[in-house]
Amino acid sequence: MPRWSIDAVEKTAPDAGSLNAARKLAVPGPWSETGATDVLVWGKCQGSGKTPYQVSVDLTGPAYKCSCPSRKFPCKHATALLLLWAGAQVGEADEPEAYASEWASQRAARAAGAAERASAPAKPVDRAAQARRAAERRALMDGGVEDLVLWLEDLVRGGLATAKTQPWTWWDAAASRLVDAQLPGLGERVREMAAAVNRREDWAEHLLIEMGRWWTAAQAWRSWDSLDTDTQGDLRVVIGWAVPSAQVLEAGVHADVWTVLGAHRDERGNLIEQRTWLRSDSGETALLLDFAAGGNPLPIARLAGARLEASVGLYPGHAPRRVVLASEPTTLPAASDLGSATDLAGARAALAAIRADNPWADRAPVVVRVAASVPEGDEPPFVVDDAGHQVPLLGEPGTWWRLLALTGGHPVTAFGEIEDGGLRVLTVVSAEDGSDDGELVAL
């Protein structure tokens, strides 16, 4: 396995504080008996206690093990060890230390056990109780949807100009009613609108379009029973009615080999959403979603280009489908390209195609051939394709400049998310010499 770059290691840290702590530890001083094979890195780190912590990292997962009591995952010791390793300060060894190899074999055994359990019959469920709870919830939601319909009708009757003058509390009250009616997805969108109405120049059109989507959701809800399963799935996402992952896995799993195209972390208040886009060898693009709230760690970001042999459960919904892993995947040799690319018109067409099935979709995963550029006068950068079409570049300045440094304004094959506002580039095929057979670099 090639050494990771320091960037790649830093992306595995659960948060900035943990990364800072790891950087301080990533010096030879506290470490002893470090070593690495193709798949394992290990070492002992002297902490404040008498016995040094035993740290092991399995690079294929990656997976981490440390004898320290930290609840961060990976802990600072594991991240520091990887930083040392990425900085070529850990020597190669033929045989792992006993604690590292034991852990690795335990993991393999657990993975085998999990696969067995997954194939074992599920425990019996009280179907009647389940149905009763669902009916109660449906009734509550019915009320919330009718409330939303009235609110929307009042809004267009009085005119959007009056909505612009409403205080934040007015939006918040409407949002809270939706949350109380078990429609948290809609509630969040209404709450976000309070800021957008004040911030955006095109607030009126933005609000009107968004109201159209809420209206569509309300109308769809009214005819729930006549909707197909996938549309019901899409609607559940927009209103925030989660499908439990156990239920998804119960409905059956699907084995395939997946390539990680890219990942993005979206922070909203104290909730972090991590989107990992996968493409199966059979050609389907799927979305792995992880959430973390209140400072809890997210599962580690998978590295762009990683190839995973995995069984997944498919959530109901139209493409791109959300998936859940049935077990820890096996890692195969990594990929170094993203496949064939389209242009920006093609990317927009892909988004339109997704919306033809799911009118609430916010984005489409696309592989595009674009060049990133900065306009005169320090305006935010944009991407442009060979046809001369351009869209703004979404994301943070740090990401923009990494992309601009990697590409120098030359066209590259990139994976990203196209949205109404522009393109968020997550992964590029980059080579120092500017050629096309480079490696996948996550931004």
């Binding site: 770059s5 320091i6 960037d7 830093e10 950087r23 010096v27 030879p28 001083g29 930083l83 990425a86 900085g87 070529a88 009708e153 267009v156 009757r157 009085g158 005119g159 959007l160 100009a161 009056t162 009126a204 009107l208 379009i209 968004e210 109201m211 159209g212 989507r213 209206w215 569509t216 109308q219 018109a345 927009r348 988004l351 339109a352 919306r355 009118p359 060049a371 550029s373 900065v374 306009p375 005169e376 320090d378 442009v384 046809a387 001369g388 079409h389 351009q390 869209v391 400049w401 990494r402 601009l404 440094a405 990697l406 120098g408 304004g409 030359h410 109404d420 980059s430 120092e432 670099v441």
Partner: protein, 490 residues
């Protein structure tokens, strides 16, 4: 027949006003509005928002335009993998923290530039961010950043100041543009003149002479000081004329500049005044007796024997002026000894003060060595040949000589600062031994030690006591990294 765009604009206009004031506009046939019987105006408007919004979002044409120029192809090959790993280490987790990062970064850039390699593209943003706050690195950073770096810097306002400072450094080699120069503010013109003096002193002086007559007194005083750079006897005529300037400041500056030119006519005139005042006295003639001047005529006043500052003796002031401007040979000739021995024979404080300023102005290494143990002035140590500095500083630290304040820590670290690196192994070892029992002084000197000790000192560092573990590890890591960087580019 309305188009979809026109219809959508009408829908939006209605929505802003409210359906209570205006009905929903009829949709074109191409929009599949749901068939609702007796739908209210607000329902129709919301249906239109849903359908029209979906069409607008997916159908809005993409903006077109041409892309600004992309980056040129880099000239240099990318640094070898080992070098890149070390740069990542320096940029992300410098051992010893941010204090030593500038040093390491400068070392990496210098090594890469000397070997003709560039920084890999992905590390450019971090490199530029960190070099930005260290102006001394701008030029080297831009060289190692190559064409891709130049393109990034030109495109980001935050990094753009680096171009200006790198260009200023390069501009020193270029000559000044006549027309532009005349219109710059005085401070800027002085800066440009100074740069030109460094490469072509005659051209700079001629430029100064060409505007001299029309400058105001304050500007003349500022501009004449630029002659300090590249000063030589060729400047004598100009300075001699400036001794008659209307402005006292200009006359003073001209005298100070001539103090550094003892071979000048003024130097000879002062020598003629000073010589007769010196005589050898004492039974074994171990002292030079100096009789301060008793009078100064108009010519002597012009040469610097002016009115003494308040509170100082008039005759003492005159002596000091003479000593500061006359050739130092006047003293060695009178003593018949070398500068070392001659200095020991001079006791008069005004004569001594004048000599010290003459030695500093003329950067005379032999005299500087004679004075350095006796007079604690950083400038003197800088004049001494660097090969001698280690021994002198060591002697000063051990004996507390030259300062009169004893060998306290503050002076140790200040003195170490005057010895340029790389230090010899012996010197480094002795200093380390001295500092190993002085935790505070060692801490204060870590940056200097790290930057100037040779990597071969590392085995000795392991002997530092555990109470200094933090400083010890800092130094070991830093020096190992310096060594590794040097090796990576060989």
């Amino acid at each position: 027949m309305t188009t979809i765009e026109e219809w959508w604009d009408a829908v939006a206009a209605t929505a802003v006003l409210g359906s209570a004031r205006r009905g929903a506009p009829p949709a074109p046939e191409t929009v599949p509005m749901p068939d609702r019987r007796g739908a209210s105006a607000q329902t129709a408007l919301l249906d239109a928002a849903a359908l029209g919004g979906a069409m607008v979002r997916s159908g809005r044409p993409l903006r077109t335009g041409s892309a600004p120029a992309a980056a040129q192809t880099d000239r240099l090959p990318v640094a070898p993998a080992g070098g890149i790993q070390l740069l990542e280490l320096v940029l992300n987790q410098t051992p010893g923290g941010a204090d030593l990062r500038g040093d390491l970064l400068g070392h990496w850039l210098a090594c890469a530039n000397a070997a003709g390699y560039r920084v890999p593209h992905r590390l450019l943003p971090r490199l530029l961010d960190q070099a930005l706050t260290r102006p001394e690195l701008h030029r080297d950073a831009l060289t190692a950043a190559d064409a891709r770096g130049a393109w990034l810097v030109a495109n980001r306002r935050r990094w753009r100041p680096m171009i200006a400072s790198a260009q200023a450094a390069r501009a020193s080699e270029a000559s000044l543009d006549d027309a532009a120069w005349a219109h710059e503010p005085t401070a800027a013109r002085a800066e440009m003149l100074t740069r030109l003096r460094a490469v072509n002193p005659a051209a700079a002086r001629e430029r100064l002479e060409s505007v001299w007559a029309s400058e105001k007194a304050a500007d003349r005083a500022t501009l004449i000081r630029t002659l300090r750079t590249g000063l030589s006897l060729e400047d004598e005529q100009f300075l001699e004329r400036a001794l008659d300037d209307r402005a006292a400041d200009v006359r003073l500056s001209a005298r100070h500049l001539l103090d550094a030119l003892p071979a000048s006519a003024r130097g000879q005139r002062l020598a003629a005044l000073l010589g007769p005042l010196i005589s050898r006295t004492g039974i074994v003639r171990k002292t030079l007796h100096i009789e301060p001047p008793t009078e100064a005529d108009a010519a002597a006043t012009r040469d610097g024997l002016d009115k003494a500052p308040k509170g100082r003796s008039q005759r003492g002031h005159w002596l000091r002026q003479l000593a500061a401007g006359a050739p130092l040979e006047v003293w060695t000739d009178a003593a018949g000894r070398d500068p070392d021995a001659t200095w020991a024979m001079i006791t008069d404080p005004d004569a001594r003060a004048g000599i010290i300023s003459a030695v500093i102005a003329r950067r005379d290494p032999a005299w500087a060595r004679a004075l350095v143990d006796d007079v604690h002035r950083g400038e003197l140590l800088e004049i001494v040949p660097s090969a001698d500095r280690e021994a002198i500083v060591l002697r000063q630290i051990l004996t507390g000589a030259g300062s009169g304040t004893g060998s306290d820590g503050a002076t140790i670290s200040a003195r170490l600062g005057t010895v340029p690196g790389p230090w010899s192994l012996d010197f480094s070892r002795t200093i380390l031994d001295l500092l190993s029992s002085r935790e505070r002084e060692l801490t204060r000197s870590v940056a200097i030690l790290a930057a100037r000790m040779p990597p071969e000192i590392v085995p000795d560092l392991h002997r530092l006591p555990d109470s200094l573990a933090k400083q010890r590890n800092q130094l070991i890591q830093h020096l190992s990294l310096v060594h590794a960087i040097t090796e990576a580019f060989q």
